[in-house]
Amino acid sequence: MNTDVKPSWMASRMPCLGGWWAGLTTPSMAREAPYLAVLPWLITAGLVFLTASGLVLAVYYNPADAFASRQFIAREVNNGWLIEGFHATGTTLVFAAAYLLLLRGMLARSYRAPGELVWLLDIVAFALLLLVGWLGFALTGGAAGYWSVMNATNAAMLLPGALGALGTWFFGGPDGPGTLARLLVLHIALALVIFFILWLRHGAKKAATPLPAPALRVAFHPYYTAQYFVALVVSALIGCVLLFFYPHFGQSPLNNVPGGPLALATGAGVPWYLAPLAGLSALFHGTYGGILGLAAGLVLLLALPWLDRSGPGRRAGGLWRLLTWVLALDVLGLGWAACGAAGGLSGLLVVVFGAWYFLHFLVLTPIVTALEAQ
């Protein structure tokens, strides 16, 4: 293959394009990467897809009459049902990749020095994703979304001091006719902020990864693009199966009833990707309980680089890996129980699974990593 970069018509007039292409084709990357190293890129591609389908939905969406405008999109807009499916299924895929990315980071212990910043940015992006996902769920105008917004605004208003001011600014007062219009703008704006965080993460990852010897490097294109293409095709296949056979995957049927003061949603009713957090926020009671559980769950993830006491350069031990897998199952179970899937046992299971989450991070992680480091 000819790797000489001949200045093309465009590149001679806009040299940055030539430089960009040269950057893609110059050997500068490790010869091989694990398959799952593709996840950040997949998340970015998924977000681009969500942005495109979201732009189309935003053309027809009406926050003043959210539920009716979604019916309009599904019934009157050309391919509207498909675009809605794109947006819902794309969200499922992006969150699946995001959860996998966190699991992989914990198993590989890539959050330790010098990768702490990458991990922190991962968690920030994940938190933003959750927030944007929740905003999207709120925008559906269904009964579950309606009550979720109602509870969130009430709790945010009541927070003391600066946090309450932030909540008031975010929601613009108690839940009312204008709330969804505001949440729509935040849904779009924060989604774009995620791109910025991912870009920062890309830079941090590059800085944290040592370059291999020059002889062992390969170019991004075609070696990595081919791998990424395969990952994209596999995700697209999974997405197609979900889109055409399970278009309402992970969504609460309660949300197919228009929201209103008289349409009471029982249980959490959140989509699957929010369910574990809903479980954590259901653990604590009282006015601030929900927010406390949510914040605690995310802060523990942020604190993981410092909760791990093993010191740099140590390989992960078998017990730690086992515990991480148990945590993954625990989070799945927490989400499952939070959706009320276990019937009368749900309340108890949420407490058990939620307690294990905190036990894992606050007790087991420091002890096991410190023991294995000896």
């Binding site: 495109a52 389908s53 053309v59 309009f72 009157e76 807009v77 391919n79 509207g80 675009i83 293409f229």
Partner: protein, 184 residues
């Protein structure tokens, strides 16, 4: 010689890899197109706007020498049924006497020459014309009169007195039968 080694390396111009590259790129392009197309198509008018864009109006109830106003594509559309006298008066005008010469035939549909359908906006200063509802002044030519700049139109919507210099615009429409017209 060079070509043989190229082929052995799978990098020649007609190598298997070359074929696979083209095949992969084509499949990718088709998949991308199939994904993007629904989104672009969704930006086309939705079923509701499409239907209202092709509105059907019943004109059977319009009596002679009266008109109705309907709204289509955000415009006021005036539909008037002419009397035999109005048709006779306007059929054979000397073209050169008109500010914007237009034949009678070009202002009506063949076979339905007693119906005039125009956009009811003055072509000078843009404002709604008077003379469509009973009792409103029709101006000296028994057509429409602009209350804003005094331009006068004949029953066929041709401008007869300025300052407007263009005839009234005729929207796209067709007669489905003697009772119904459809806008397109």
């Amino acid at each position: 010689m060079a070509e043989t080694s190229d082929q052995a390396m799978g990098t020649g111009e007609h190598s298997r890899r070359d074929f696979l590259t083209i095949l992969t790129a084509s499949a990718g392009a088709i998949a991308l197109g199939a994904t993007v197309w629904p989104m672009i198509d969704a930006l086309a008018p939705d079923a509701q706007s499409d239907a209202s864009g092709q509105m059907i109006v019943n004109v059977a109830g319009v009596a002679e020498n009266t008109g109705i106003a309907v709204q289509w594509a955000g415009l006021p559309i005036y539909i008037r049924r002419l009397t035999a006298k109005q048709i006779a008066d306007n059929r054979n005008l000397v073209q050169s006497s008109l500010p914007d010469p237009a034949r009678f035939k070009s202002r009506v549909k063949p076979g339905y020459d007693n119906f005039v359908v125009v956009v009811g906006l003055n072509t000078g200063i843009s404002c709604a014309l008077e003379g469509n509802t009973p009792g409103e002044p029709r101006g000296p030519y028994d057509g429409w009169l602009s209350p804003c700049d005094g331009s006068a139109y004949d029953p066929l919507g041709r401008v007869r007195r300025g300052p407007a210099r263009k005839n009234l615009v005729i929207p796209r429409f067709t007669f489905l039968d003697a009772a119904q017209i459809q806008f397109l």
